[in-house]
Amino acid sequence: MSFDLTKAETPKADDAETETAPEESAARRGGLVDFLSGPAGRNLGLVLALVLLIIVGILTGGERFASTDNALTILRLGSVIGVVSVGMTFVIAGEGIDLSVGAIVALCSVWATTIATQTMAADYHWSVMVFVALAVGAGCGLVNGVLIAYGRIAPFIATLAMLAAARGLAEIIAKRRTQIIRERGFVDFFGGSVAGVPVLVIMFAAVAAAGWVLLNRTTFGRRTLAIGGNPEAARLAGIRVQRHTMYLYILLGLACGIAAVMLMARTTTGTSTHGTLYELDAIAAVVIGGTLLSGGRATLVGTVLGVLIFTTLTNVFTLNNLDTSTQAVAKGAIIVAAVLLQQRVARTGST
């Protein structure tokens, strides 16, 4: 069960808390203390890794790295995969996995940019395209959810099937063409900025914040963790595990829809090649962030940090004009180093 996992990660930290402040009443502990002693503490290692990366960026890139423009570039880059990762955090927290996110993003982007949709968008409003993307995403998520929760197909297999099917369907619909968005209103809205902050970044921040609240402050989030940690116990507690599991995949499907909208705005296109390898990127960000693949423990702050680490890494690489092969080797080494660092910090913090 998840028993061992609890202990493996941070039992000590928890004990310490219990032991040093046993009489501190629950009610007295404010939200802030709670917050700091929770995710933030555990994410210290990640923050450190990110800071190190930023230092390397400044040392090697100087001005070019440390500019506002570059920071916004990193954030914009991270925002699309970030939204997917937020959704992925929920599915993984509920002991699932979704390999089809990239394919769903592709299908959403294609469906929302067909001539039919664009014509309708031109006639009414560009929000039609947004609506189509979200609906398609939610629909794919629903199919995944039903197959997994009610069809009892292993998530890995069900979403692998969706990966093949959704990308195939996207190709059929788009006839393998890149569909360019003619609707300038759409591109201008999502491509714009509010008070200097790109709309995409605002969307990512909003999704991440909403995700954090949903995970940590609602019954939905707690039940998700319960299902991920011990599905049998969750069932015994009267939670409708199947229905809830289905919701998780729909949620992720919706996140893919949002990501598709963002990607469409970024690239001004919809195509079946969008979202390639998002599944690996998103899962990697979530897992390096500290969410357990075996479910039951999840941190959204960690996920966001994970996304930022990966995007900053790419940015630093490009600034340094590294060739792709060296990048790949360095990336592998850095991932391992970051995780070891994170562990070391967690262990030191607890003694």
Binding site: M1, L5, K7, T18, T218, A233, A234, I239, R297
Partner: protein, 493 residues
Amino acid sequence: MTDVVKRFPGVVALGGVDLTVEQGEVHCLLGQNGAGKSTLIKVLAGVHRADEGTVEWRGEAVGLPDPQAAMDLGIATMYQELDLVDGLTVAENIFLGHEPSRAGFSQRATARRAAAGLLAELGHPEITPTTEVGALSAAAQQIVSMARALSRDARLIIMDEPSAVLDAGEVEQFFAVIREITARDVAVIYISHRLEEIREIGDRVTVLKDGKTVSTAMDAKTTSTQDLIRLMTGRSIEYVFPRRSPVAGAEPMLRIENLSQKGEFADISFQVRPGEVVGLAGLVGSGRTEIVEAIFGATRATSGTVTVDGRTVRPGSVPAAVAAGIGLCPEERKSQALVLQASLAANISLASLAKFSRAGLLDRHGETRAAEALLDSLDVRPRGAHRESRTLSGGNQQKVVLARWLLRGCKVLLLDEPTRGVDVGARSEIYGLIRELTDQGVAVVVVSSEIPEVLGLSDRVLVIADRTIRHEGPADELDEHAVLDIILKGDAA
């Protein structure tokens, strides 16, 4: 409930059970391991669907399709297998499935306050509602389970072996709570293998045997122990400990010197001679588990040595300990001892695979034969070495763990709560088994939260309190009160 039948693949777990529970009573359910008690209450709680039979609730027939339906009726359940989510906090676990919330947002402060209140009511204000449940000891988790059942405002609370992980003091406290809730006309179904408890708290008793009711609604106070045991087992068992045989004054088999572990226990020294049983008595949380785990190398002691048969064991290494001839039956069967989806034979041979290895190849017939023989001699039911260990009842699982070390053949056997959740019949069999082992010269260390058991089984007793040894002496010089006195006051008053 009338004529309830529940079949599992290959097993008829319940073959026609009748049970009537009155308002405000404590109805005890007795039966051997595997008799079907847990299955019965799971049917009642909506976890399993009965194949046949009816359940009436306040005079009306009801269907119990899922746990939610049972809870809606007012049936709350504390399951035998801890049914908590380790990654969630105490408060979150207590209110899982019925969180105080407004528009989907959980009201965490309310939940924490309510949880703290419930825990205080149960006499355990020291359990903080914001602690993660996975970090709590088994006893504390059981209390959380109880708080959760209470939080449901139920008319009937089912308790499946709640006292198994509690010590004497805690059981008392627990009973006080039960008395309080039955006074409010809430009914309780209470399952336990400890007959003394039934006498103390129970009103009426129903006995199950092989999935059938053999007798129901007997008076809990007056029915004789002999009768109860005979109804459960079909034979009479002398519910006594086997006689001790004198220990030869040989060199100690196990010698512990100045064993310490930072933050857990300090300065533990004792010896066990071949054929001797040494008991570790103490309250839950006194650190006994940590001591035996350190001896076994499962955790690394900060200082001190463990010597077996004159040879020092490399610290912090389980394989070294096993090679030296130490065996451990850990405290938590499911998470620490058994590979649940593996067969009984595979579980039994796990520590002795080398025995069945011929140039790396596994002698599966030999393995099966050895396992069958052990299962036979330990009377594990249902039969079959290829059965998945998951499907066995708790007591039978414990026997399988014992069988693992019997097969291995140990010089030193460490038993952490060996009879937790084990029925009277099996219990006396295990006692007998321990004696048989000592007759063969094995040195045994027993940890148990039941003080009478420690006293009855051991030759010598170590009383552990405040994470160190408080008293050491022959078992027949102590009684339960003396031990409690030592623990509480630091000496045998």
